[in-house]
């Protein structure tokens, strides 16, 4: 069952210049994208910095107002609401159901609040808890995410990065959400702690049947945790597929290049990894046709007129999709 369907989503940021703040152009951070999230699944959203991953996440929780398009969310009570256009009042009853875990556990927790206040805050705001139950509930949440309840009265600065990220996760799941947007949730953590937090996210998902939108640039973590993966490039979705299918059998040259650049344990110093040359284009002035064609080694003249619509690779219109019009002619290499 789909719980979220994003279609035609655009988010443009105006570029203002001069004395009268005239708008001289737009940064097309998210430029007409579509994807869907099913109940209980983890969707990985990958791409290089500046490709619009985080903007997409922020639009879904309405930290940003989308420019165009729709984000249809089917709530627990069966009502479908368009998060892209609904007013704040209309969204309020469903806020609890969509939560977010942020990248930087240092700046996303208020240093003047104790852990007890931090974890209880969303519950109190949503009037989901009686004052007398707060300590019990917080202790229970802390245990659940692997923190010791004795530390409830401490402040965030007394915790390590991994522990702070656990506090952030406790805040998100205390609302019993149905969808959690994890925006680079493990990127700033140490390697051994990354593994722990990934494991915690998986355990919690099994227990509470939540869906995750796992926004990350680390392809290894994405492969590990995601059921399906969405690849973005300069504000566009270029490929969507089930995880193993996408990694082993990519159908877009950009995905292939991204996979080839990940450093692998089996590599040796004498090998040169294949690299993508050039730089990501400016999202306020992307190239004609397929945005990737100037860097693509398979590009032909036709690619300059590509409409970049997502095309199904097989028969299933919601299965493996790519925006590369030449995918059928190409045999691209994945990682095994």
């Amino acid at each position: 069952m789909q719980i979220l369907r994003v279609s035609g989503l655009k988010k443009y940021f105006p570029i203002k210049k001069g004395f009268f703040n005239k708008t001289v152009g737009y940064v097309k951070a998210v430029n007409d994208i579509e994807f869907e999230i099913n109940a209980g699944e983890t969707v990985g959203l990958v791409g290089e910095s500046g490709c619009g991953k985080s903007t997409t996440g922020n639009c879904i929780v309405r930290l940003l107002d989308p420019t165009e398009g729709s984000i249809l969310y089917t709530a627990e009570n069966g009502v479908t609401i368009d998060l892209a256009t609904a007013s704040r009042e209309e969204i309020r009853p469903y806020r609890r159901e969509i939560q977010m875990v942020f990248q930087d556990p240092y700046s996303s927790l208020n240093p003047r609040m104790s852990v007890r206040d931090l974890i209880a805050e969303p519950l109190v705001i949503n009037k989901m808890i009686d004052k007398n139950d707060i300590s019990d509930r917080v202790a229970q949440m802390m245990l659940r995410v692997g923190l010791r309840p004795e530390y409830m009265t401490r402040y965030a600065h007394a915790f390590s990065g991994g522990q702070r990220q656990r506090i952030g996760i406790a805040r998100a799941i205390s609302m019993n959400p149905r969808l959690v947007i994890c925006d680079e949730a493990v990127s700033s953590l140490d390697v051994s702690v990354q593994g722990q937090v990934l494991g915690l996210l998986e355990d919690l998902q099994a227990e509470y049947h939540m869906s995750y939108l796992f926004v990350a640039h680390d392809l290894s973590a994405v492969r590990h945790i995601s059921d399906r993966v969405v690849v973005m490039y300069v504000g566009k979705v270029v490929e969507i597929a089930e995880t193993d299918e996408l990694f082993e059998n990519p159908k877009h040259p950009y995905t292939e290049a991204l996979l080839a650049s990940v450093p692998k344990l089996i590599a040796s110093k004498n090998q040169r990894s294949e690299t993508l040359e050039g730089e990501v284009p400016d999202p306020s002035n992307p190239p004609e046709g397929c945005f990737f064609h100037p860097r693509c080694k398979y590009a032909t003249e036709d690619c300059k007129h590509c409409s970049q619509q997502l095309l199904p690779v097989g028969d299933d219109p919601l299965g493996h999709r790519t925006s590369c019009m030449r995918f059928a002619q190409l045999s691209l290499k994945g990682v095994k």
Binding site: D190, S192, V193, Q196, S220, L258, S261, P263, L265
Partner: protein, 327 residues
């Protein structure tokens, strides 16, 4: 092989509000000419402190307690650990024979000077190229690190460059003096994978061209595998395992190394492969456990041995040393 740096039993301490901390606790390693040494470990394990000690750029509250750092410079061998802070030979270490690139290329450049200006400063300080040719040399260096349109970029400010280009410019600046050792402290950590691959290839090509040694400090085993000849794994200020890179990756012997391997997701692992993550946290430097520093987190630790006796480095195979009782 000709040796460039020989570090023996180095101990570096810091004075902090909570007491005195040994950030590096008796480490020894060599760097050979033309070779890349990788240093891996989690934050706070002393990776960067050992390289900062080698360059003698420890912060004011830090000092070298004991041990030696023999550096075989072109002007003779000396012990860096014993140099007075005013010794002229330190200039050799600071950008002339040893150059350094950092993780954050934005904060390592001064924002109010152009890229060219800052590269020319390195040229002025470390070479005897006449003033009239300095700018041309800066452009040539930028071209060498494959920055497009170097004549134009040389007059731009750091904010006008992307992260990858800034790191290239940083490398150009490091190359100005033809260094013999390049210390790369997490050079690609803040970059995208595609840019990371470009920078790593660039570093490998430049190493061949310049014949320099590289010390690659990193926490990503993939980067280590792709760039280094030899690798030292650090945990809480000690080297727990050291071997040739291929040997270490195939045959990790210290429980910390093998646990770390199993806890890191690999892009080549199929979806859903269970991670065996390491329990607990790295202890803080004020309460380093007795005995083997890894024993509280080690699944194979033996009571009465690992929690009492500090294991000494032993050679498990030629060139492969491990500090563990359980071998």
């Amino acid at each position: 092989m000709e040796k460039l740096v020989e570090i023996r039993d180095l101990v570096v301490r810091f004075r902090t509000d909570e007491g005195i901390v040994s950030a590096v606790n008796g480490i020894s390693y060599d760097i050979n000419v033309g070779e890349t040494l990788g240093i891996v470990g989690e934050s706070g394990c002393g990776k960067s402190v050992s390289s900062n000690a080698l360059m003698r750029i420890l912060p004011e509250n830090g000092w070298i307690e004991s041990g030696s750092i023999l550096y075989h410079s072109q002007k003779g061998t000396f012990d860096v650990a014993r140099l007075s802070p005013r010794d002229k030979r330190l200039e050799l270490l600071h950008g002339k024979e040893i150059a350094m690139i950092f993780q954050e290329p934005m904060t390592s450049f001064c924002p109010v000077y152009t890229i060219g200006n800052q590269i020319m400063e390195a040229i002025r300080l470390h070479t005897d190229i006449p003033k009239s040719e300095q700018k041309g040399y800066a452009v040539e260096l930028l071209r060498k690190v494959r920055i497009a349109k170097p004549e134009q970029r040389v007059d731009e400010y750091p904010y006008q460059l992307s992260g990858g280009m800034r790191q290239r410019a940083m490398i150009a600046m490091a190359l100005a003096s033809h260094p013999r050792l390049l210390i790369a402290d997490e050079p690609t950590t803040s970059l995208d994978v595609t840019v990371q691959a470009q920078i790593l290839n660039l570093m490998k090509d430049l190493q061949q061209e310049y014949g320099m040694s590289i010390m690659m400090i990193n926490h990503n085993f993939g980067v280590i595998a792709e760039t280094t000849d030899k690798v030292a794994v650090m945990y809480l200020g000690r080297i727990v395992e050291m071997a040739d890179t291929a040997e270490l990756l195939q045959n990790p012997l210290h429980p910390y190394t093998s646990d770390l391997f199993r806890s890191i997701p690999q892009v080549t692992d199929a979806r859903g492969k269970k991670l065996e993550y390491i329990h607990g946290n790295v202890p803080d430097a004020y309460s380093i456990p007795a005995g083997c520093p890894y024993h509280p987190r080690c699944s194979r630790a033996q009571k009465g041995l690992c929690d009492r006796v500090m294991p000494q480095p032993r050679e498990a195979a030629p060139g492969h040393t491990v500090s563990c009782h359980l071998l």
